[in-house]
């Protein structure tokens, strides 16, 4: 997966757990908790979906590494096998 594909997967899964958010309006540095108002259950659902799509098993201590589109793309790219 290249960066563009990872970004697309992330935004797709984000709108899966938060269907009321329009993925086209999500900025690269918007924080999923502080700006997009995801709660802890939404974040876990996002982590679960990303794991299913990419195979990256994001441990709890790394949740901050997927908190924005920009961070997540970098994190997933680095950890993809």
């Amino acid at each position: 997966m290249n960066e563009a594909e990872i970004r697309a997967v992330y935004l797709e899964e984000l709108s899966g757990v938060a269907p009321d958010i329009d993925p086209d309006t999500v900025g690269d540095n918007e924080h999923i908790q502080d700006d997009l108002e995801l709660d802890s259950m939404d974040i876990l659902n996002l982590v679960t979906a990303l794991h299913a799509r990419t195979g990256v098993d994001i441990p709890e201590k790394d949740y901050p590494c997927i908190a924005t589109v920009a961070l997540a793309v970098e994190y997933l790219r680095t950890n993809l096998k």
Binding site: D39, M41, T48, D57, I58
Partner: protein, 390 residues
């Protein structure tokens, strides 16, 4: 069963808009089946049938604004004959001039606009026209007597039909429902409040340990530990679990914990986990995930909106220490959990940093006293400090 009517999905619901039928005449339905989706001020809700039967006819149409109690369909039990009084004609759709027998109280219809003499139009057409900002005076009606029907309005604004109601207006509607419910609560329920700060470190350590060995799909959140602990703890404080209706408290034999979920853009919903006492911690977590996902997608069930017996409102991982909550009628208690914070704590005569949480209870004084709530705290605290037993 006969006539299936618009159910009340909460004390303050007045009407709902039919947006989807999931059955058609001739279909057999079983108790608990979802047969329709309605749009309410709290979002889209799936409504269920309460008895087995066969769908005889659907008398409500998509787009109709239906007050609580309005007939929607005729569903017959085996061998049952259709009632003569509810033929579809009696709904008098276009001009609603005839009396279709016993009607719900019209004063409670929130969405129904004042009828105007100039433009005969169905209630659904009027409601949709107002939503879309369509001027009825410029539409030629195709209904009986030139009345404007729903499809006339939709054809006038084809591009806008797929769009749900504007987020702004939905947030406003939800604020109104919350205000109505909370005003009713605070004017009819004599609230009293207790809170207690507890060491939650054992639960946090337990979750960190089990979650580190689990894939994301099997991880458990602290919120599930709180729901599980509340469910078990009310077993020792049964007067906190149930409904106060018709002047008396009716304790519930099962615990259906309502879980307050914040809606983005403002507002709250508190759908219930059914019979959480029969669930393990993992099952409670799974049920909460499902509830949150469906709350976000607008796919909560009517039963989940009405059958909660006590509510948990959790302030999340970060944020305020404590809340003084408002009870969700007809329930008699609301439990609030603050965000866990690391604080100096005395443990075995030593001052140590521990994650602590302040748990609060708002209780109905018609049913409870401080004693019951204190017993609840004591049990809740023991449970969150022995999370492996949950």
């Amino acid at each position: 069963m006969g006539v299936f009517k618009m159910p009340s999905l909460g004390a303050d619901m007045e009407a709902g808009k039919l947006v989807e039928w999931l059955v058609k005449p001739g279909d057999t339905v079983a108790r608990g089946d979802v047969i329709a989706v309605i749009e309410t001020q709290k979002g889209a809700i799936e409504i269920e049938v309460f008895e087995d039967g066969t769908v005889h006819e659907l008398t409500a149409e998509l787009g109709d604004e239906l007050p609580v109690g309005e007939p929607m369909a005729v569903i017959l039990a085996q061998g049952e004959q259709p009632p003569a009084t509810v033929a579809p004609e009696t709904r008098a759709r276009p001009a609603e001039t005839t009396d279709a027998g016993p009607k719900p109280v019209p004063a409670k219809v929130v969405f129904q606009p004042e009828p105007t003499a100039q433009h005969a139009a169905s209630p659904a057409a009027r409601a949709r026209a107002r939503e879309l900002g369509v001027d009825l005076s410029v539409i030629n009606g195709s209904g009986p007597g030139g009345a404007i029907i729903l499809s006339d309005v939709e054809q006038a604004q084809p591009r806008d039909i797929e769009q749900p109601s504007r987020p702004g207006s939905r947030a406003e509607e939800m604020r109104k429902v919350i205000a109505a419910a909370m005003t009713r609560s605070k004017t009819t329920i004599p609230h009293f409040y207790l809170s207690q700060t507890m060491d939650v470190q054992p639960a946090i350590d337990f979750l960190a340990r089990i979650n580190s060995e689990r894939p994301p799909s099997e991880r458990v959140l602290l919120g599930a530990v709180f729901v599980q602990a509340m469910t078990l703890a009310v077993g020792k404080a049964k007067t906190m679990n149930g409904h106060f209706v018709e002047g008396a408290f009716k304790p519930s034999p099962v615990v259906n914990p309502g879980v307050a979920i914040a809606v983005r853009g403002g507002g709250l919903v508190a759908p219930a986990l059914m019979d959480a006492g029969s669930l393990t911690l993992d099952q409670t977590m799974g049920a909460m995930r499902d509830l949150v996902a469906r709350a976000r997608a607008g796919r909560l069930k009517g039963s989940e909106m009405t059958q909660g017996t006590i509510t948990l409102s959790s302030l999340g991982d970060t944020g305020a220490d404590t809340m003084t909550g408002v009870i969700f009628p007809p329930q008699v208690a609301l439990v609030g959990t603050g965000a866990p914070h690391v604080r100096p704590w005395v443990l075995d005569d030593q001052i140590v940093p521990r994650s602590v949480v302040t748990v609060s209870v708002s209780a109905d004084h018609r049913v409870n006293d401080g004693r019951q709530v204190a017993r609840f705290f004591s049990e809740f605290e023991s449970l969150i400090q022995a999370p492996e037993t949950l």
